[in-house]
Amino acid sequence: MIYKIISKGALADLFAGLQETYDEVVGPQERGPAFVFDKLSSVDEVRLNYPSTILPPTKYFLPADERLFRFDRSTGDVYDSEPAQGTRAILGMHPCDINAVLMMDEIFMGDYVDPYYETARKSSFIIGVSCMPEPGHLCAAFGADEIHRGFDLFLTDLGDRYFVSCRSVPASELMDSYVRSCEPSAEDINDFQERTKRFKEAFAPMPKMDQLPLLYGAKYFDEELWERIGDDCLSCGACASVCPCCYCFDVRDKVDPGGKTGMRHRIWDSCLKSEHAEVAHGHNFRPTRASRVRYRFFHKFVGNFSRTGKMLCVGCSRCGKACKVGINPGSVIEALQKEYLPDTAGVEVFKGGGAS
């Protein structure tokens, strides 16, 4: 890692370098009362002090609707199966979102490599930016408030200047070619520490994460608890749409009007839909709202955890904002913790229990 200091004004030079180097530069910008990642045509459009965006930037690696290939039914040919080839610079990713991408990397570039994801991922240049916690942000609880890899450049806002971490060769080359920078002074490093301290202190109290996977397993069959949450669920799947760690997709074929050619594509799916766990002959493994909500958080807090040691949540709070009825990781963890786990009792509750 190489560290540099650049002025705020130098962001325009960095942006110019990105525009010359990459086919597309995207970043957070305003849309009505919200913020979204979208194509930037000028540095003036970017809002690096944004609180959050409606969709996470993972949409660039796993789009909501992605063509896998086209086919011709009359000849049996398959074509247009190459992933999109353009290069993209993503400016302004928060640490939580970069952490989420690292988890997606394990899923889509781990044991089985997804060529579409991999191509989009490897043709992207990621510039992270520091943030300040907003109410509801739970990244600190999930250890996603810091990021040390998964980006090319990271900009920490020191008020009148950025503390820049360069993590890749293309990043260093870009900095050398386009941006006037200097080495961090003792004062810069001191300001960086001060900023980090303010950041850490700005978090509201985090949910109590004690023994969460075990606790979840133990309360998996607490029907009253899950039915209470399930009764509220609108089954809309908005939470999964906005989640940077949700990766379920459905594969569908669409035949063109002429009937001869068509497309196979994948679209985002979610475990909140009744169709998600339905199999041949109409059997449904999760027929009730309660079972679906329970499964969603089970997968996040226990399923993935038992496989990789990481919970599939970075505490970005997007689902909390998208959910109209207040079902989110914070409220679910609170519901799990409060009744049977008093502050002092800790793990005692599991004595003799069959938690797994």
Binding site: G32, F35, T53, I54, L234, S235, K324
Partner: protein, 287 residues
């Protein structure tokens, strides 16, 4: 090399049929940019709007628009079901009862009849149908329907997709969940939440609220959040989604400081038949 898949089989004979509606879906079909390509896959034997041919005695696929509003419609549908192998309904009227379905009881039927024909006359030369009029229902209330294309009007792309599926014998695949997830996909700020700020505080911050409550909370997805993308709340034209949680949606509307009565009134525009059918089991549909 796969043998040519189209050569042998004769093209399915398709009839486009109308019940009570404003022909809006048929107009949408006639405006379909790729209509001619679609027509290569079928033999269109009857379509009152664009062809002069009479309805033949037999056909393979019936595409039906409109709500069932007379006993004549009922008899016609039973006959059609006996003839056609596949029934596809298009639009809200045929799918949910639609706007005609706002007449949802014998009383409101009688009242509407008196308002429209105060003298009891139905116009010179008209066949008297007053006795034959029914409280409007969707086609599926009378006969089995194989594919339902929702919306007011239908989306011609969705029509084409389902028609091609029907020609290939693909099972019907209904979108089950409400719209909200798709509003996120197009990144449209939510009318209720304004990106997560509860409506009460959104009001405090001067954010705009909509005149009618957005019905996307309970309405079947699949339209691409067309209205919301244009800055208008969902009117519920695709019908109440299978997965919709109406009691929880009403509770949310109430907590958001909006009127539940207003929400239900808006819902009745396209979903009166559904609400009437379900009025008895409102409290048992959280499964």
């Amino acid at each position: 090399m796969t043998p040519h898949l189209f050569a042998a089989a004769p093209k399915p004979r398709v009839a486009v049929l109308s019940l009570a509606s404003d022909f809006g879906c048929q107009v949408a079909l006639s405006n379909f940019p790729q209509l001619l390509e679609s027509l290569e896959t079928i033999e269109l034997v009857y379509w009152q709007l664009v062809l002069s041919a009479d309805l033949p005695d037999d056909f393979d696929i019936a595409i039906i628009e409109g709500a069932v509003t007379t006993t004549e419609h009922e008899q016609f549908l039973l006959k059609v079901r006996g003839v056609a192998k596949t029934i596809i309904t298009i639009g809200a009227c045929a799918g949910t009862g639609g706007v005609p379905g706002m007449i949802d009881s014998q009383e409101s039927l009688k009242q509407a009849q008196q308002e429209v024909y105060p003298s009891g006359q139905e116009g010179a030369g008209a066949t008297p149908v007053a006795d034959a009029r029914l409280v409007p229902r969707p086609v599926s209330a009378v006969i089995d329907v194989d594919y339902t294309i929702p919306g007011c009007p239908i989306d011609s792309g969705e029509f084409s997709n389902i028609l091609q599926g029907a020609l290939l014998g693909v099972n019907e695949r209904t979108e089950r969940e409400p719209l909200c997830a798709y509003c996120k996909i197009i990144e449209a700020p939510c009318f209720y939440l304004m990106q997560g700020i509860a409506v009460t505080s959104a009001k405090a911050q001067g954010a705009a609220t909509t005149a009618t409550p957005c019905l996307g909370l309970v309405t079947q997805t699949g339209c691409g959040a067309l209205c919301i993308g244009k800055g208008r709340p969902c009117t519920g034209c695709r019908g109440v989604a299978i997965d919709a949680n109406l009691p929880a949606a009403r509770e949310f509307v109430r907590k958001a400081g909006r009127s539940v009565e207003e929400f239900d009134a808006a819902l009745r525009v396209y979903n009166s038949y559904y609400l009437e059918q379900r009025s008895g089991d409102e409290h048992h549909d959280s499964a």
